[in-house]
Symmetry: C2
Subunit: 411 residues, 2 copies
Amino acid sequence: MPPKGNALIGQSGGPTIVINGSLVGAVEAAHKRDEIQTFYGALNGISGILNEQMIDLFREDSDTIARLKTTPSAGLGTCRLKPKTPDLERCMEVFKAHNIRYFFYNGGNDSQLTCHLISELAKGSDWDMQVVGIPKTIDNDLVVTDNCPGFGSAARYAASCVQFAAKDAEAFGAIEVVEVMGRHAGWLTAATQVGRVDDYMAPHLVYVPEVEVNPDEFLADCRSCYDEYGYLVVAVSEGFSFAESSLGTTSQKVDEFGHARLGGVAEALGEMIEEELGVRARTDRLGNLQRCFAFATSQVDLDEAYAVGADAVNRACEGETDIMVTIQRKSSEPFVFETETTSLMSVADETRLVPLDWLNERKNGVTEEFVEYARPLLQGYEGPLPAALPSFPRLRKSMAEPKLGEYVRPK
Amino acid sequence: MPPKGNALIGQSGGPTIVINGSLVGAVEAAHKRDEIQTFYGALNGISGILNEQMIDLFREDSDTIARLKTTPSAGLGTCRLKPKTPDLERCMEVFKAHNIRYFFYNGGNDSQLTCHLISELAKGSDWDMQVVGIPKTIDNDLVVTDNCPGFGSAARYAASCVQFAAKDAEAFGAIEVVEVMGRHAGWLTAATQVGRVDDYMAPHLVYVPEVEVNPDEFLADCRSCYDEYGYLVVAVSEGFSFAESSLGTTSQKVDEFGHARLGGVAEALGEMIEEELGVRARTDRLGNLQRCFAFATSQVDLDEAYAVGADAVNRACEGETDIMVTIQRKSSEPFVFETETTSLMSVADETRLVPLDWLNERKNGVTEEFVEYARPLLQGYEGPLPAALPSFPRLRKSMAEPKLGEYVRPK
């Protein structure tokens, strides 16, 4: 059994609607474990560890912790820092100085790599510490796990937006291009098709970054759908690209798509469709709200997030280490899952793309198999919505006393 | 008393989250009135009248009608057509051909003008017809009425988005610029401040089109808020503009704001703040979802929309004409309203701007008086949210038989 000591948790990368669900799951599990004396939260992920900015989560009110569960975005703050070797060594110093025997890091594949490197360093330095990764990403691109906490709610938001925007487009007989997050993996964009329960409904066309699109087929499909339904809604990943070399006359635009900063694809495609079809095309970029629009919380997603947080703590206390908690689906209808684990190395820096055989033949939509996979993950939140505007608890942030000198990151 | 006959209703301009609430209010009231024999809905507003594309609303299932009440966007379709004299004359022909004795048009100030012109034409041609305007606009810029159905829900969506996006910005210690609809009137943008119930909360700065902003003050205020709160959220109307001639070095940008197509202000401001403060600025444009994101329905707004629809029918049946139904506030907490009327001429083509004395001295936020006005209009929807993704009823659309020849609009 691992020694008694303190625990530390950090949140990393892009926040999600339910990431605080994992934090609360971990805190509530830790309260019940004798092995954990003080449970610290690192402010802004690794950055807070390096600078010893850690708060005592056991000193937060239980009411604050309970409300935090449904507060979107990272309550501890987050960062996008990729630690280098001196950073990791500094982390070890901090762990030792604060008697951190349990370390939990909640993030995507980058963060699981960080977790693994820390685990290796601990083993190499004889510091008896359990290191457990907690999965999180709206992109749903972690391998091994059935799905990633954070995805279901973002997908519910994106899919709902598409349904709502479709009503607006339909009322005008207009074209609407909706841009969904996803640079390499198209899970979120693909999931918007779950809402299309009848042919006339949106999204009529779905494009994911896994496929390079033929521009002529793209325009032909837009025209054909518009002619058939009297309006057109296209859902497109921000990582959309055209196959090179086709579409001679608009090659400049094509280049733009391939190399543009993310977040302009919908407008470029909208202009192109408008020009070709002679019908007004509007665009909506779903943007940062995909990570935080809590009215679209998925209950399954929230349950999963809580479970992986709690399970990480319990497994660490039972001596498991160098693992990430995963979701194993037991049944889709009703949705039943269990938590399992996988080695950190198996997920670190790996990316799970949408399998090509879950896309239709024309690669402009998904198969029924995909819909059956995704549908249960997008179920609505069972709790009541507030009549007032959203408001959130504020952490007391009782800071740990620094024990080391200031840290300056090497260039 | 007006003669028995048929009624016709049309929806016009930008849809709203609750515009179908007015339609359902009108249909349900009409069912109880002996004066109305058939109740037609014009497809795509005036455009449907010109082309005799009208559906029999009494032949829709009562279940469809009930579900339509909470279906966002214009269920009959909408248009942005500004009728010219020959169009209005054609409308009269259609009214006579279909024995339309009651005409209801649901829209903003443009549509109320259309309504008035039709009313005048009817009077001049001895066609005994009651014409009643039903107010609708997310912009809240109709005069006389306390507020406009459509505004409360759009404001609830915008204000919620700002609160959610603020959590995401706070987690990164980042800057966020949220672009809200509003070319001339800043009601929607201003209403986002209702969510700021504590100083550290967002939006820290609010800019409406009623005020030309001094660029130096703008940047100074951004810096000061960022320094104070460690993150910064700015809500800005798409009609934002800088006062001319200041900010020498970035005058090109200034020109852009003043004359750009709507929908680029947030990005331009974001770049400018990022450059000045050296902190990452992200942007979100709330876009078309402000007109249709039904998870943000305001109960007060839905009640108002229903009431003005029902009241329009009842008043017309009692012989009132050439009026628009208005909302009169009786109390703010709890919110109590009654419907009243005003002449169509009093609202046609008039625009109500945010009064300057409801803005703070620095013109970068609103006063408590504004907040007290707006707060009750943003109350949440009392009904349950669906666990599944949004889905909506489909109208049967039993078409009226055309009685006139084809109509070709004059150039």
